[in-house]
């Protein structure tokens, strides 16, 4: 097989990059050396002239990366089989919506995926009770929207009283907090920006669950006999991110009442989150850090993806990190 100039250049570059003197490397090439030399020099110029990262940037995690890591990194799993098996069973029940686990009825519109996150972005206690059938997506949506939201899971029955606390990270329900539950202060009732006041209720005000017991599930010592254990707030929970924007027509006219959908892509999050534009064509969604495709669906014209395309593959993905607030993620509806 004939050696081409491309091969010769590649080999010479490798030799020089590994430390051989360029004159020596070029000298090996005989009559080809002078022809290869300018390209070799240009490659090395590129290498030498490419700016370096600032030392501070290169030596420590940037805040956004650190926040993402703190949000997403799962803590070490409980090692005790005594705890793990029952908790896995409990998690399965919660996630699959079996056994009638449900968000406390005080939460507004429990079938809606757009659950309230407080404007001040402090953690909210979501109480999950047994035997109150509501759509299974609700607790999952809560977890997706509020990656650090503590969730109080009431597993108790009169015979097996409550309860257990947990929290979510990156949309996954974790069971890291195994200490006996104690009463903690629950943030004030949150409300959706621009929407009606939400009434997420402190878990401690909920009655004890009365559903059938979870066989084999061990329950931590209770805080009180009559109340489900409240959520234990994380000391400094990572914040969810916010994506805001408007849905407009071709002449930039805002369009109200248009469903806006965020589809999580990539590895961090999953599922879809939806809302509807307000009278000004605006929407806001609190989401877990991740990458999303934003789309709006007009009843007559179909779906348009951000910023203005009818083709999903041409959509511009939006990446948000914990605490980030993205604005002007607009969708211009295409006929």
């Amino acid at each position: 097989m004939t050696q081409t100039f491309a091969d010769t250049l590649a080999e010479t570059l490798d030799r020089v990059l590994e430390g051989e003197a360029p004159e020596t490397a070029l000298g090996r090439l005989g009559p080809d050396g002078p022809a290869i030399a300018p390209l070799l020099a240009l490659g090395l110029t590129l290498q030498a002239s490419c700016p370096e990262p600032k030392p501070a940037f290169a030596s420590a995690l940037p805040p956004a990366v650190a926040a993402a890591f703190d949000t997403s990194a799962a803590p070490a799993a409980p090692r005790s089989v005594r705890w793990t098996l029952p908790l896995l069973a409990l998690a399965g029940l919660i996630l699959l919506g079996l056994g009638g686990l449900a968000v406390a009825p005080h939460l507004p519109n429990p079938g809606q995926t757009d659950l309230p996150i407080p404007r001040d972005e402090r953690p909210v206690a979501f109480a999950v009770q047994k035997s109150t059938p509501i759509p299974r997506r609700t607790p999952l949506a809560a977890a997706i929207e509020a990656p650090s939201t503590p969730i109080a899971v009431a597993t108790g029955t009169p015979a097996l009283p409550p309860a257990r606390t947990s929290e979510t990270t990156g949309g996954r329900i974790l069971f890291a907090k195994m200490a006996p539950a104690t009463d903690t202060e629950v943030p004030p009732a949150p409300h959706l920006p621009g929407g009606p006041a939400a009434t997420a209720t402190p878990a401690s005000s909920l009655p004890a669950a009365t559903g059938p017991s979870l066989e084999g599930t061990e329950v931590a010592p209770t805080a009180t006999e009559e109340h489900a254990a409240p959520a234990t707030a994380s000391p400094s929970p990572p914040l969810p991110a916010t994506i805001r924007g408007r849905v407009v027509g071709l002449h930039d006219a805002p369009i109200a009442g248009i469903p806006v959908n965020l589809e999580a892509i990539g590895d961090a999050a999953s599922g879809q989150i939806s809302t509807v534009t307000d009278a000004h064509g605006a929407y806001v969604l609190r989401v877990a850090p991740g990458t999303y495709l934003v789309s709006a669906t007009h009843p007559d014209h179909g779906t348009t993806w951000h910023p203005a395309t009818r083709h999903r593959e041409e959509a511009v993905a939006v990446t948000v990190v914990a605490g980030e607030q993205r604005q002007d993620i607009n969708v211009t509806l295409q006929p």
Partner: protein, 210 residues
């Protein structure tokens, strides 16, 4: 004004070519997966330079390069559960970086000048006539205005840009570059040759005046 080739190589010889130790990288990935921030920080420190330089060679300023580099490592955080610890991390990171760059250009509503990739750009051998005008004297680095260099890089095809940035910005080997761009090593050699030749042609053209 030319800079002796050897002097540049002496100052930059070792930097982009460091090869992470596979076993320690595997341990760091596994540690980071388990929430070990120190392990993740070591991964960051090990790869940030190559990611930054890969991006910086294709964007006009440091701030944009830092933003996009951060995005890549946020992507690493999210991708940790699915990454195969036994595979080298650099090509994976560079693929994420390529995607972030593509999103960046799309979000700005523009890209660097796109040049249609000729059918024979990759798979056929290089056009050796490109060398006929090569001056025989050059054993020194030409001094190039960074702005002109940026413009010239922007005039390459996407693949040519990527290959040059991977090889000379990120310091990837031919094999790692081939994995990253999804081509054969021979194809990468050909693209590298054509890209440098095209760059040289553009830099040889007198600067256009507005």
């Amino acid at each position: 004004l030319n800079v002796p080739l050897s002097s540049v190589l002496m100052t930059d010889r070792q930097a982009p070519r460091e090869v992470p130790d596979d076993s320690s990288e595997r341990r760091l990935i596994e540690g980071a997966r388990e929430g070990d921030r120190a392990a993740f920080t070591q991964l960051y420190q090990r790869h940030v330079r190559r990611v930054y330089r890969f991006i910086r060679l294709q964007v006009p300023d440091d701030a944009t390069a830092e933003d996009l580099t951060q995005d890549v490592f946020v992507g690493l955080v999210r991708g940790l559960p699915g990454i195969r610890a036994e595979s080298p991390l650099a090509p994976w990171l560079m693929q994420v970086a390529r995607n972030r760059l593509a999103n960046h250009w799309r979000s700005l509503g523009r890209r660097p000048a796109e040049v249609a990739l000729p059918d024979d750009d990759v798979d056929s051998g290089p056009d050796e006539a490109l060398l006929t005008s090569a001056p025989p004297e050059s054993l020194s680095l030409p001094e190039i205005d960074p702005a002109r260099l940026g413009d010239a890089i922007a005039g390459l095809t996407d693949l040519q840009r990527d290959v040059l940035a991977l090889r000379f910005g990120a310091g990837l080997s031919l094999a790692e570059t081939a994995i990253t761009v999804g081509r054969s090593v021979q194809a990468v050699k050909n693209v590298q040759f054509k890209a440098l030749a095209a760059l040289r042609r553009q830099l040889a053209t007198p600067e256009a005046r507005p």
